[in-house]
Symmetry: C2
Subunit: 425 residues, 2 copies
């Protein structure tokens, strides 16, 4: 009874947009890798050629944001400068230089009856990208989807609508330059929030997967409402675990880097777990470095008995601070540390610091997160650092894509089976 009255005009418009993306999918899928590369190169060129127009539209978005008293951080995310726009174009050029994943043979085998099997990569299909204020996401995400042979429906936030509309025209013009259908990249032309709800229901089967790019409230809404698969992580509650066998210098450096290199990224360490055996000697040194770097520590009773810090509450273990704050817990041993991670972690990224190879292997084997590291910073949770060239985000779900979502993760596969007349007995 409380459902809003359906907006039939909006629904028809969105279904048409989905149908266009779907209809264009075969052209992009069956195009040669060189054609997809040519389209990406043309898109980068168009972004540079249309710089004045893009920056003018962006200035309108920024002026509106200022008039609405948006925060400085928000306005910074929204703002394009000539330098930032060149970075966007360069990122598209880099995506053009990535290997084209489509048609790659993943595995081959031959059966005793002579049938030759090949598992080969094919595009996922139509990808819906829902993002917020950063207008560069339109170009980044559009390019990566196209590299993997997909078509894409881009829906940016209301605040960046003018910027995204103009960037979208550049993307579509680049497609046309390479002889691909413009409809392979769709820009949702309305700021009506109901359009997002329609995308989350899949536009009548037109959307194969949704990728949200933005803050936790956007991701939560998408994960909650979507009727199609979602590649995302709600939060990165990442742990650095200092094992009794840790090299002290590595423990200090990796905790500091894991937390403080950039505090606002999903791979930032949010909780330090440290073995009871080494806490009295090591925790004061780690705490001193973190405090010196401007980090607030919140510890359990045992940590606070060793080093003065704020008292951690149960909520702290479940909090992704994305800020210079670190929760600290002293654990009895590796099993205790893994139990803490299983209870409070978000299956994103965890690292163990130790020189004990057996402990490291146990941690790597039994911690059920997308990324588990040994003697390396949690901040390596990044597609670029994995060598993927680019990523559209990090997924913590268990289906299809897990960890950094690069071009290869935006593909599916099929089986090619070659025979010489085999009939099945």
């Amino acid at each position: 009874m409380n459902a809003p009255a359906p907006n039939l005009a909006l629904e028809a418009q969105m279904l048409d947009l989905g149908a266009r993306a779907r209809a264009a999918a075969a052209s992009v899928r069956d195009a040669s890798p060189a054609t997809r590369t040519a389209a990406l190169t043309a898109i980068a060129k168009r972004l540079r050629e249309n710089a004045a127009e893009i920056l003018a539209a962006n200035a309108e978005d920024v002026a509106r944001g200022k008039a609405e008293n948006m925060t400085a951080a928000f306005l910074d995310r929204l703002t394009l400068t000539p330098e930032r726009l060149e970075d966007v174009a360069r990122a598209v050029d880099e995506t053009a230089a990535l290997p084209d994943p489509i048609g790659a043979v993943i595995e081959t085998w031959t059966r005793p009856n002579g049938l030759k099997f090949e598992r080969v990569r094919t595009p996922l299909g139509v990808i819906g990208v829902i993002f917020e204020s950063r207008p560069n996401v339109a170009a980044d995400a559009g390019a990566l989807c196209l590299r993997a042979g997909n078509t894409v429906i881009l829906r940016g936030g209301t605040d960046s609508a003018k910027s995204v509309a103009v960037i979208g025209r550049a993307l579509r013009a680049g497609l046309a330059d390479a002889g691909l259908p413009e409809d392979a990249i769709q820009i949702v032309p309305t700021t009506d929030r109901a359009a997002v709800g329609l995308m989350l229901r899949g536009l009548g089967g037109a959307i194969d997967v949704i990728v949200p790019r933005g803050g936790k409230s956007l991701v939560a809404r998408v994960q909650d409402e979507a009727r199609v698969p979602v590649f995302a992580h709600l939060e990165g509650i990442c742990h650095t675990y200092v094992h009794a066998g840790a090299d002290p210098a590595k423990a200090i450096a990796l905790t500091l880097n894991g937390k403080m290199r950039r505090v606002g990224v999903c791979g930032s360490t949010e909780t330090l777990l440290i073995d009871r055996a080494v806490a009295p000697t090591l925790l004061p040194q780690i705490a001193a470095k973190l405090t010196e770097a401007g980090c607030e520590l919140r510890g359990d009773a045992e940590a606070r008995a060793i080093t003065a810090m704020v008292e951690a509450t149960e909520d702290d273990w479940r909090t992704e601070y994305l800020a210079p704050i670190l929760s600290v817990r002293v654990v009895a041993n590796i099993d205790d540390a893994m139990a803490h991670i299983a209870t409070y972690g978000s299956s994103h990224t965890e690292t163990i610091i130790t020189e004990d190879a057996a402990a490291a292997e146990k941690f790597l084997a039994n911690v059920d997160s997308a990324i588990v590291l040994h003697n390396a910073s949690t901040q390596y949770a990044d597609g670029g650092e994995f060598g993927f060239g680019g990523e559209i985000g990090i997924a913590t779900g268990r289906m299809h894509a897990r960890g950094p979502v690069g071009a290869e993760q935006l593909t599916t596969f099929k089986y090619k089976v070659r025979g010489n007349g085999q009939t099945r007995p």
Copy 2:
């Protein structure tokens, strides 16, 4: 307003069952391959030891089915005999003999900074299997899920409830024999249909994926209502395409085998497409063989002008007969054939019959189905024929599993990253 009143007792019971399956997941996941093998071997042994009890329970289900005037085909699917039960136990032994996929290294690479990356297989988690009258599915599906390190929630049809309950006890006893938690295999203990609805909503996050095993109406309901990923195919509208370059003997043999080897399987050919250039000579020969084998043909005007057959309607191109009926269409060329498949196919399995290598490669590259074959029967669409050892079904979705779903397809992966103190610049 029309929603049924929630059954809170049922919901609590099902949530508890889901929580138990989830709680058992780590034990199965972290067990050694040898332990999982031992559990499967113990399950096969328990099925044999408990044969009398299982057959007695099955006799009760069959008696009830007879009293309710179920069809002979239905009763046949429901009925276990000593021989069939031995087949079930032997299938579990075969699953025990399959390679354990967990921990297998899928790929490795090293980055310039020295970080060593490994992508390794891990279990998917908790799999919900919803099936109908065949009680053997409980053992087959339970064993395959366990081989891949998963826990499983089995929900059989009301008609086989007594059989499945007793088989379920054997499965759980086998787990305990190997030191694994009985809760790793859950049998839904109620025949309340609302339990299925609760499973489709995921039991509060306890279920990672649903696999329906049964007829089209079950699969349709699951695909329609599920809020968690589903591995399934709604139907297999499979095509055999006889290209102008076909070897006549292969064209005849592969069409006959593709359609008539078994008409009730999802890989059975439902539509024959044949090039105009060879239809006048080849179609009469193919039609004669099919008719002789008891197959009804339904053709378009051009096919009927060549060989007498029933008139095909638009519906025929969209129908999975699962019966000795074949629709027949004469096409202009390979593009016409591929367009027909794109319009009417179900993305399951299609084959091209030709000696023209270029045509074959074009078909294999551009037909977007889970399985595409060249000079082989569509009836090879089967996990066993792929060499997967066993399968829980065939998926036509684009996410995660596509084609036959064997043990390997019931896994996911994670990244292990080994460093020596790397901090991210």
